[in-house]
Structure formats: structure tokens, C-alpha cells
Amino acid sequence: MLSVDGLTTSYGSITAVRDVSIHVDAGEIVGLIGPNGAGKSTLLNTTVGLLRPTAGRVTVDDRDVTGSSPDAMLRLGVALVPERRRLFADLTVVENLLVAGITAPAAERQRRLEEVVELFPLLGRRRTFPAGYLSGGEAQQLAIGRALMSGARLLLMDEPTLGLAPGLVDLVFELIEDLRSQGRTLLVVEQNARRLLEAADRAYLMRTGSVVAEGTGRDLADRHDLFEVYLGVEG
């Protein structure tokens, strides 16, 4: 469904992503793990059109979409749930959800809104709260709710458990499973590598801008040298 070939992204003089190729098939949960500075966020941001790659291609359903704008990608069904959620703190919960559905016609947007509220009753009770007052768990629900509002078939999630207490981490991974069972495809970047490897069908390990290991979730999780490869300690 999604294919990234030889992608390189630089900004200023920093080459954050170097010749990276990954693919995500429909219905999969694909994980992207690696230490900070590995380029994982940059890879997601480039895929979704926030950054322009200096080389390489992004393909969605066999269509070359390299360099498309974020709203064009949304229309193709590819949505990003950004790192640290980036909710609009001054807007209410409902307004945050509505904005996320802006690419849809009004009736469809309303329908999705009702779906999201049904899935997250907590959000329904907090409709008119400014998003800045939500707790961590509620905020994460809102973030995922926004991704659903976009009607996306492919969700790119950037560190969805960042800053959340352990109990909420479980919740997030449950939601990720739910999303998959609804027929969506997910590419998830996570700090919590072990949890992600348990949940993912396949995963890539990135370090200093390149993919250094890949395989099924189980294969990578079972590697005894995972820590070493993860942090680049040889020997």
C-alpha cells in the first residue's frame, strides 16, 4: 500500500534520512524503532508531505505521490498523528476533531464525528473542553480521534505513547489493534520498542538516518543483541 524507495531528506545541512526504503502492505501494523535522531520522525514527516525529500520516491497504491502536500495525502487516505500529538490547545475537543475532518464534505465529517464519539465516549463528555486542559490519556484519545476524522486508511503514528503513564500505554496499544481490526493500516514509530515489536507484524530498525535491521516483529524482538544494534554499540 505504501512504498518508500531510496528516500533522502535533508534540511539545512543535516541529512536526517539517508536512502531509506520501506514498505507497508494493507492491513499490516509495521513498526519503526530506533534511538532518537535516527530519522524516524523525519521519515514520517516526509512521507506525509510536510518535508520535501531531496531524493527518492513515495508511492501510495502504486501512485507516485512524492512531494504531495499534506492535504493531498489526506485525500488519498494517509494521515499523520504527530509526535507529541500537537493538539490545538485553545480549540475545544470538538473543534480539534472538526479541523481534522476538514478535507471531507460536511455531512461525511459529521458522520465521522459521531463515530469517533461513539468509540471514545470520554471525548464525547468533554466536547467543549479546550484541548489544553485534557489529561495525557484523554489527549491521546483525541489525537487518535483526529486521525480517524481524516478517514485515513493508512495511519502514520509518531510516538503515540510518549509521555503517557504505563497504564495508558496499554490503552494505546489496544487502540492500535482496534484500528487494525477496523481495516486500517498502521506505520508506528515508538520509543517503547519491545511493546511495539510484540504488536507489529513487521518492523524496521533505524539508526543515524538509515535502516540497519528489519524483519518480523518476533524476529527482531528475539534478537539477543537488540540493545547493541539499537544503540550502535559494536562488539
Binding site: 534511538p35 532518537n36 543515524t208 540493545f227 544503540l231
Partner: protein
């Protein structure tokens, strides 16, 4: 070091002389082929040059957009007019002038001196206000404050008619020009160009430029931008006042509109079109705009008719030209025609390239006991979010300590708290017992704690050598580091060959090494490095290990380094602290830390069946 006087004094002086000569000769040639109208035009151009060069001293060196310089000019203009006009004529305009000013009669030179002093005093007060408002390049507050000054002076001039003659009559020098010949204009022009050009090379000028490029990085290098900015302001208003005095004498009269919006537009356009960061640029802008202005004025006058274009050639065309030039340049070439290049840059480059490579730095003589940086119970809270919780650690000179942890662990926040970039909620930071908590960033740097930045913050338009020379200035004054050759740090960082290149052209590896050398140039006791290998490839990271060790040894500093590249950290550090979710969870030797299961879990996370 002996070449310094040659570069920083002789070449700029020669440059200033050359620029002066070009202007004067060009002006004379132009005047000779025309009548008295050309004569006046050239005189006006020279006077505008004095004013614009004065503005360049402040706006160009500090990056702060001031609209008030023409307000200062207005004050000076009125001071000169009121003091120097013959009382015989003065009482026609301002017979009721307070303080007996109607009878005062100073010669123009003395009047100018009085005006300069007055303006300097006002500028000093305004300058204090600017500092208080946090003036730095790109800030809005100083623009508003100086704009307020411009309007205030204008309104006051229109209102206090007893003193100024207001709008209706203004002030006049009486028949005949008060300014005899161009002698004084030449003197003032020559001195202004020289002063402005030399200021760029003085310590104050160079510190101001560093702060202009990046305020935070400058502070982290020990620079307090306020005094250099104040000096720049004072020098600039002196020059502007002199120019204003000459302008009033040339025009022979003074009204509030002489130094208001349209003169502001004219002088600003001249400054930005040529390139506000250099004196040559400012002068080029003066010439270009004067020529363009005159051409458009001529074309729009009744004397000229160009078939097919008469719809364009109407009164007001020169204002359109000015506004259009300003607009066009901001869109297409915001740094102006010359950017920050000066006339003598080519010569300077050749001189500097001929410099011999300095010796690599040796370890300093042990000047005293080792220093200790102690962090005790440090906590940092942002709103409801506790980024750093009760962290204690210690670094001694001579050792290299690592700080690692997964994303969001609070490492950079910890560094920012130690260096005064974010406020400390609880706990202390001390250097040899001296409490550094809650001190201003530049004071912490001067105390001996230097740093680099995660997204490196260089001085984009300054050359590499300036990146080490400027902290060396601070080091000389505040760190008792006389005679230490900062240039040697460039060699140590493999940067010597690139020393004349501008920092914005660098690739990541070079940029990071430069940041390291810059921090070391402060002769600090401690180097705090924030992810110095991010963005580097494997080879560069490996080389960085040696760089860090070498530089740290060269200045005898202790190092605290944050990074994610564990290969780098393991090989460069003696001890490692591990942070997770704002708390210290482990510390020890690299081997101990690598084997620690808590550390592994922090990085890789825990499996689902172990959740509580």
C-alpha cells in the same frame, strides 16, 4: 597575532579612505558638468550618506530595526536651528522661546556639539529602555519604541510652537545659505565613514554582530548584548546628529516634516538596498537610491515627456520608486546588493589566507586546583509537566561524563537549566561552591560553563574564525585567558582551512566541530555538549571521539556530553549517567551501564506481560 592590527585597523582605514575618495571624486565630476542644482544634490547626497552610515552602525551591527533614528535627527536639527540661527531672524519665528533661547547665538560647530550631546543623552535613556524590553534582532518591541520616539518628536515639534515655530513657520536661517562651501560636509563624511567602518572591527561591534546572528548562542558564549548595543546606539546617533545638523544648515530651515516619515523612508531604503550589514553597502545604497530618485524625479517633471509612458511619469514617481525599491529588495534580496561585504574584503581575504597555520594547542599549564560542577536535586517544571526530577550529578575538570536516556527523558532540559536557558524550579547548580542557579546565561558562561546546542546555533553570516575569536574576547576579559590563541582551536577541530567560510555554508559534521571549538574558545572549565554527533555519519561520529578528547584536553575542561550514539558515548566517557522520564536511573562506567537491565528497559521498553 601581530597581524591583527594590520587587518583590523589599517585595511579598514584604507577602505574608508578609498570609499571617501570615490564619493568625493564622483561627486565633483558630476557637479562639474552641471549647475548649482547638481551641487546641492551632491551635497545632499553626502549628508544623507552621513545619516545612513550612522543608521548602519546601529541597525546593521545589531540587527534591530529602529525607526527612531530620524527622530534623533529631528532633535538634533532643532537644537542646531534654535541655537545657531541669528537672533535677528530667530525672533521672527520664535520670539517667545523659553529659557531665553531667542537671544542665544552659537556658531554652527558649537551648536552641533550641543546637539550631539543632547541627542546622546536621549539615546542613552532610550537605549536603557530598549535593553529592558529585550531588544534583539527581529524583535518588535524596539521597533515600536523607536517608532513612538519618531512620532513623539514630530508631535512635540508641531505643538511647542514657542520653541520650534511648529508647522506654520518653522525656523529659518535667513537669506543665503548658512553652510558655506562643502568643507564641513567633507570632514563629517570622511570621519563618519571611518568611524562606522572601524566600529565593525571593534570589540563592541563584533560582539554586537555575534548577538545579531544568534542572541542565545552569543549569550551562551558569555556575551551580554546590552553594552555593545548601547555603544552602537550612541555612536550611531552621534553620526546621525551630525548629519542632521548639516542638513538643516544646507536647507537653511527646519520644520517638523523635514525629519519624519518621508526622510525615514528615504534613509531606510538607502540602507537596505545596498546592504545594511556593511558600510560599503550602505554607501552604495545611498548612491543607487539618490541616482534612482533623481532620475525618477527628472522623468516625472514637466521638462520630460516620454511617449507611451506619460501615465507613469507623474509627480510621486520617486516615492513609488523608493517604496518599490524597498519592497522589491525585501522580496528578492533582503540582504541588499552587497550583503555584508566591504570594499576591502578581497584584500583582507588574501592577507588572512597567507597566515601561517598556528600550532595545535597544548594542554594548559595546571593553573590551579581542579574545578567541580555540582548539580544537586535539580528539578524543572513546565506548567504541570515535570521535565526533570531531583537530579544530582557531578563533573570534574579532566573527566568526560556522559548523559544518556531515551527520547523525552529531560537531558536537554537539564542542560538548559544548568546554563540558565530555562528556569530552575528546585535544586542548585554550583561551580566550586559558587552558586550558579538562576543566573543569567551569559554570566554562567563567563563563570566557566560553555555549551553546544542540539540543533546547532552558529553565527550564520560570520566566518568560522570569528566563531572562536569572539568568545576569546570574552575569555580575555572574564576568564583570565590572556595570550591563548583561539585560532589553535580551529586547527584542533580540523577547521583551519575553512576559516574564512561563512558558517551558514557548512555541513553538519563541520558545523558541530565548529560549535565545539567555539565553546572551547571561552576557556571554560566545563563543556556541556548537547548531542554533538546527531546528523553525523558513522565515520564522522568516530572521529568526533578524538575531537572531543583533544579539545577538552587543550583547554583543561571537564565535559558533560549528551548523545544517543552509544558507540560514541562508550568510547569518549569515563562515567555515564542515565536519565529516564526526568529521573536519574543509573550511573557508572560504560560497561556497568550497558549491562544494567534498568537501562535496557528504559531504552527498549518493557514487554506487555510485565505491565502492572
Amino acid at each position: 597575532m601581530r597581524r591583527e592590527p594590520l587587518e583590523r585597523l589599517l585595511v579598514p582605514t584604507g577602505e574608508a579612505a578609498a570609499l571617501f575618495a570615490i564619493l568625493v571624486v564622483g561627486g565633483l565630476l558630476y557637479t562639474m558638468s552641471g549647475g548649482s542644482a547638481r551641487d546641492t544634490l551632491v551635497s545632499q547626497m553626502f549628508i544623507n550618506a552621513i545619516v545612513v552610515v550612522g543608521m548602519q552602525v546601529y541597525i546593521g551591527n545589531t540587527g534591530i530595526l529602529s525607526f527612531g533614528h530620524i527622530g534623533f535627527a529631528a532633535i538634533a536639527g532643532y537644537a542646531v536651528a534654535i541655537a545657531a540661527i541669528d537672533p535677528l531672524f530667530k525672533r521672527l519665528f520664535i520670539p517667545e522661546a523659553p529659557f531665553g533661547l531667542a537671544t542665544v547665538h552659537l556658531d554652527p560647530l558649537t551648536a552641533t556639539v550641543v546637539a550631539v550631546l543632547l541627542v546622546a543623552l536621549v539615546a542613552f535613556l532610550i537605549g536603557l529602555g530598549l535593553v529592558r524590553s529585550g531588544a534583539r534582532a527581529g524583535a518588535v518591541a524596539p521597533t515600536m519604541i523607536t517608532l513612538a520616539l519618531l512620532f513623539l518628536v514630530y508631535e512635540a515639534a508641531r505643538n511647542f510652537t514657542d520653541l520650534t515655530g511648529g508647522d506654520r513657520s518653522g525656523l529659518s536661517f535667513g537669506p543665503g545659505n548658512s553652510l558655506e562651501g562643502r568643507g564641513w560636509i567633507y570632514v563629517a563624511l570622511g570621519l563618519s565613514i571611518l568611524a562606522a567602518r572601524l566600529f565593525r572591527e571593534t570589540r563592541a561591534g563584533r560582539l554586537a554582530q555575534a548577538a545579531r546572528e544568534d542572541d542565545l548562542a552569543a549569550r551562551a558564549s558569555g556575551i551580554d548584548p546590552a553594552p555593545p548595543q548601547m555603544i552602537a546606539l550612541l555612536l550611531s546617533v552621534v553620526l546621525v546628529a551630525i548629519g542632521a545638523s548639516l542638513r538643516v544648515q544646507l536647507l537653511g530651515s527646519m520644520t517638523p516634516n523635514f525629519f519624519f516619515f518621508s526622510y525615514t523612508l528615504l534613509t531606510l531604503a538607502m540602507l537596505v538596498v545596498g546592504g545594511r550589514k556593511s558600510v560599503t553597502g550602505a554607501l552604495l545604497g545611498v548612491v543607487v537610491i539618490t541616482a534612482g530618485s533623481e532620475a525618477t524625479r527628472y522623468l516625472a517633471s514637466d521638462a520630460v515627456s516620454v511617449p507611451g509612458f506619460d501615465w507613469l511619469l507623474k509627480e510621486g514617481l520617486s516615492d513609488l520608486f523608493l517604496g518599490g525599491a524597498m519592497l522589491g529588495f525585501m522580496i528578492l534580496r533582503p540582504d541588499g546588493l552587497l550583503g555584508d561585504r566591504e570594499l576591502g574584503d578581497g584584500l583582507l581575504l588574501r592577507l588572512r589566507s597567507a597566515q601561517p597555520t598556528p600550532e595545535p594547542p597544548e594542554a594548559p599549564v595546571a593553573s590551579g586546583a581542579a574545578s567541580t560542577l555540582t548539580v544537586r536535586g535539580l528539578s524543572v517544571q513546565f506548567g504541570g509537566f515535570l521535565a526533570v526530577h531531583d537530579v544530582s550529578l557531578q563533573v570534574r575538570t579532566g573527566e568526560v561524563v556522559g548523559l544518556i536516556g531515551p527520547n523525552g527523558a529531560g537531558k536537554t532540559t537539564l542542560l538548559n537549566a544548568i546554563t540558565g536557558v530555562v528556569p530552575v524550579t528546585d535544586g542548585t547548580v554550583a561551580l566550586n561552591g559558587e552558586d550558579l542557579t538562576r543566573r543569567a546565561t551569559h554570566r554562567i558562561a563567563r563563570a566557566g560553563v560553555a555549551r553546544t546546542f542540539q540543533n546547532f546555533r552558529l553565527f550564520p553570516s560570520l566566518p568560522l574564525r570569528e566563531h572562536v575569536d569572539v568568545p576569546a574576547i570574552v575569555a580575555e576579559r572574564h576568564r583570565h585567558a590572556r595570550g591563548r590563541d583561539a585560532r589553535a582551536l580551529l586547527v584542533a577541530g580540523d577547521l583551519w582551512d575553512a576559516r574564512e567560510r561563512r558558517a551558514r555554508e557548512l555541513d553538519t559534521g563541520t558545523a558541530r566541530r565548529l560549535e565545539l571549538s567555539r565553546a572551547a574558545a571561552l576557556s571554560p572549565d566545563f563543556l556541556l555538549l548537547d548531542e554533538p554527533t546527531t546528523g553525523m555519519n558513522e565515520a564522522e561520529s568516530a572521529a568526533m571521539i578524538e575531537h572531543v578528547r583533544r579539545i577538552a584536553r587543550a583547554v583543561g575542561a571537564g565535559v558533560l556530553v549528551i548523545d544517543h550514539d552509544l558507540h560514541f558515548i562508550t568510547n569518549v566517557c569515563d562515567r555515564i549517567f542515565v536519565l529516564d522520564q526526568g529521573r536519574l536511573i543509573a550511573d557508572g562506567t560504560p560497561e556497568e551501564v550497558r549491562a544494567d537491565p534498568q537501562v535496557r528497559e528504559a531504552y527498549l521498553g518493557s514487554a506487555a506481560d510485565r505491565s502492572r
